[in-house]
């Protein structure tokens, strides 16, 4: 990029933070957005080497994925920050929030620092770590929330574990609220789900698989909302999966509680029947629910009760997935399919493009208190150039993630990122735009 200056012209600018959806251009200088607006650079010479002709494609802030598991440190054979970064960029994602569920668990300021330095050295994508809320994710003793925050933890969570001890959770929430940090919870009653693999219902009965009812989630959602009310902590449900939880959260939000929630991409398009003949790539946490629940998740995104869409990217090696269903690992790789899934909501008419992209850009930025996720003067030029109509067939072997456990094998999507920019620099290019 000559002289640190890049001009994007002929773009459909879609920026949820400012409500902008218009034809126009954008100027990047020294890695920051210097100008952006409708009608900008309409008459510029498109052959100029510092001009990128967007051919009418969508230019959006780069995606922010609030829920990414990697294997670094501890399980680098599943995913490193470097491989997750390549997958993210190919999916139009410019910021990933990584979960502390690693080995060792990210529960020490030095480990937060390790993640940040490792990411800086190996990954192009912005990597922001969440730290554990309790030491070793054991749900017993809270971590050094203040020091971890200073070290760079953007939020606090026990990842895919639910703290069952309500006394511990109450104190952790109260303590966290003294530092005004975000706490991200996972809602699945550990006792009810112990040993189970799928959603309880007719299909689970047919398969003879150990199953837990969806209320294992809703009960914890209700419990946590009460504790938020008591403590005043800022609280985000990392992902919900059923209608009952959605309704409970809608009521809590209506009461003005500082609560937000997310949904994973796979819960927007898959239901419990997709488990099919014991297809272990469909084994996720929380489990795929009924079709009515899936439809409710789409409604929730459309209505805004669900704030963010996440990939819940959880790479698993083949040997832990190629097991009998009950023994197989939970988790689905999803960084590269987050955007195509989200765009599906737009194509299906569930929500307009601005609203869909909000759930993966400005909404997570706002919840996490990030300055990215917006296209305005002075913001970092982390951008995704998106062809909302490009056909995309998921071929596991072509995914950049080190683990190929996508639940979308062979599935056809409409729309994908064609170019991804970090600080104005093109870090992913799928090929020339149409």
């Amino acid at each position: 990029m000559s002289g640190g200056r890049t001009v994007f012209c002929n773009a459909r600018l879609v920026d949820a933070a400012t409500g902008l959806d218009a034809k126009g251009g954008l100027l990047v200088e020294n890695g920051k957005i210097a100008d952006v607006g409708a009608g900008l650079f309409n008459d510029i010479d498109r052959n100029d080497p510092e001009v990128i002709d967007c051919h009418g494609l969508v230019l959006s802030p780069g995606l922010i994925d609030m829920r990414v598991f990697t294997g670094e440190p501890g399980s680098e054979h599943r995913e490193t920050l470097e491989s997750a970064s390549r997958a993210a960029l190919a999916g139009g994602v410019t910021t990933i929030i990584v979960m502390p569920n690693t080995d060792p668990v990210i529960d020490e300021p030095s480990l937060v620092d390790f993640i940040r330095r490792r990411a800086e050295a190996t990954a192009r994508v912005h990597v922001l770590p969440m730290a554990a809320l309790t030491r070793h994710l054991a749900g017993e003793v809270m971590t050094e929330i203040g020091l971890l925050k200073e070290a760079g933890a953007v939020a606090f969570t026990d990842g895919d574990r639910t703290i069952s001890n309500t006394r511990v959770l109450r104190r952790a929430l109260a303590y966290a609220s003294s530092f005004d940090v975000l706490v991200v919870g996972h809602a699945e009653d550990p006792d009810l789900i112990e040993g189970t693999a799928v959603n309880e219902g007719e299909y689970a009965m047919r398969l003879g698989l150990p199953a837990a009812p969806a209320l294992a989630e809703t009960m914890i959602v209700e419990r946590d909302i009460r504790l938020v009310e008591l403590t005043g902590a800022r609280y985000h449900f990392g992902q919900i999966s059923c209608r009952a939880s959605l309704e409970v959260i809608a009521k809590a939000k209506a009461r003005g509680l500082p609560i937000t929630c997310g949904v994973s991409a796979h819960h927007l398009v898959l239901n419990e029947l997709d488990v099919g003949p014991y297809y272990t790539f469909m084994k996720v946490k929380p489990p795929l629910r009924t079709e009515a629940d899936r439809a409710a998740m789409v409604e929730g995104v459309a209505s805004g009760v669900i704030d963010v869409i996440v990939s819940s990217h959880d790479p698993q090696a083949a040997d832990t997935k190629r097991q009998p269903f009950a023994q197989a690992a939970f988790g689905a790789a999803g960084l590269e399919t987050l955007l195509p899934v989200a765009l599906g909501l737009y194509h299906n008419g569930a929500a307009d493009l601005l609203h869909v992209l909000k759930a993966v850009t400005s909404a997570p930025a706002q919840i996490l208190g990030l300055e990215s996720g917006v296209m305005k003067q002075g913001a970092a030029a982390d951008l995704a150039l998106i062809d909302p109509d490009a056909p995309f067939v998921v071929e596991p072997d072509l995914l950049r993630s080190r683990s190929k456990n996508t639940p979308f094998k062979g599935r056809l999507f409409q729309g994908q990122a064609v170019k991804t920019f970090i600080g104005g620099e093109c870090v992913f290019n799928r090929g020339a735009p149409r």
Binding site: E200, G201, E202, M205, R206, L207, G208, L209, P210, P213, P277, Y278, D319, R322, Q323, P324, F325, A326, Q327
Partner: protein
């Protein structure tokens, strides 16, 4: 056999009853009738599977099913190898699929598989190119058990249409119950399920069955009472408070059996927990108990299944 070489099964595997048609089920039962007669003759062997290799791969201990399959294979003239989990390398960390592909390389013709996890047998079937018989997978299906139960009922002169069968006990974890629900339903029988709610799946009504928590109510008008084995580890407070209480409410004794139709017959897939789910005086009463007949029918059914599957094998190369 008279029907030799007529294809019976569409699939090259027998994974469950759910995927079978009424025609396939009836054909298997008819074929098994012939093997019942053979089993009672002096010369019990036919060379139908001569030269074929059958491997019994049991990841979960089983005496009767394994010996039943072994005997069935041997009576058909096959070479039968028994492999159980304790002697295999599965305990050394080898995955199920590794085991499957290793065995597959030995070119068996039929694999008979039991596994403690639902779906494990169908997963294995996708990885090998021989026929696979499900000898019970987790809580999913146990097709040969349901078939032998049906044969036992049929040989007692009962017609399935309108027959009332009460299946009692641990429905939730029982593969025998699932296979029987499918099979009896397909053949037109009325199925009732009896047991405490902790052992009854909530959605079971979707299967076109009636459910009862009161065993006496559930047995009223039943022609067949099918008892299920209750795993002892499920009775120490997790699902049922005690064996004593379980037997009191759901154990089959004379008094509860009296609620069933006169002449009602009692079945059990074995092995029985006497004094837990069934009283000895009922289990050992040859007037009402079909339990030993079930064992005999088991061998005949397994011969029929091995015969039927071998019909899909061609003379030289496999072409599955």
């Amino acid at each position: 056999m008279s029907q030799a070489h007529q294809p019976i099964l569409q699939s090259s595997h027998l994974i469950g009853i759910e995927g079978l048609s009424v025609g396939e089920i009836t054909a298997l039962l008819d074929l098994a009738e012939e093997y019942v007669a053979l089993g009672r003759a002096k010369e019990k062997k036919v060379p139908l599977l001569k030269g074929r290799t059958v491997i019994n791969l049991f990841f979960e201990a089983s005496t009767r099913t394994q010996s039943s399959f072994e005997l069935a294979g041997k009576r058909l003239g096959a070479d039968v190898m028994n492999m159980s989990v304790k002697t295999s390398s599965v305990t050394k960390g080898e995955t199920l699929i590794d085991t499957a592909t290793t065995l597959n390389a030995m070119r068996p013709d039929i694999l008979v598989v039991r596994h403690q996890n639902s779906g494990a047998v169908s997963m294995l079937a996708r990885k090998v190119n021989c026929c696979v018989v499900n000898a019970g997978d987790g809580s999913h299906e146990h097709p040969t058990q349901a078939l032998l139960d049906a044969l036992t009922i049929r040989r007692r002169g009962k017609t399935f249409q309108g027959l009332t069968v009460a299946i009692c006990g641990d429905i939730l974890h029982s593969r025998v119950a699932r296979s029987n629900i499918y099979l009896l339903g397909k053949l037109g029988a009325r199925v009732r399920l009896v047991g405490p709610k902790t052992l009854m799946p909530g959605t079971v009504a979707r299967f076109g069955v009636e459910t009862f928590t009161d065993m006496r109510e559930g047995l009223k008008g039943a022609d067949i009472v099918m008892m299920l084995r209750l795993q002892l580890e499920r009775m120490s407070g997790a699902f049922v408070p005690s064996t004593r209480e379980y037997f009191h409410y759901w154990g089959l004794d004379r008094e509860k059996l009296a609620y069933a139709n006169p002449g009602a017959l009692v079945m059990h897939p074995g092995p029985m927990n006497r004094g837990v789910e069934i009283d000895s005086s009922v289990a050992d009463d040859i007037e009402v108990s079909l339990i030993h007949e079930q064992v005999e029918m088991g061998v005949a059914i397994r011969m029929a299944v091995l015969d039927a599957l071998s019909r899909g094998l061609c003379a030289g190369e496999h072409h599955l």
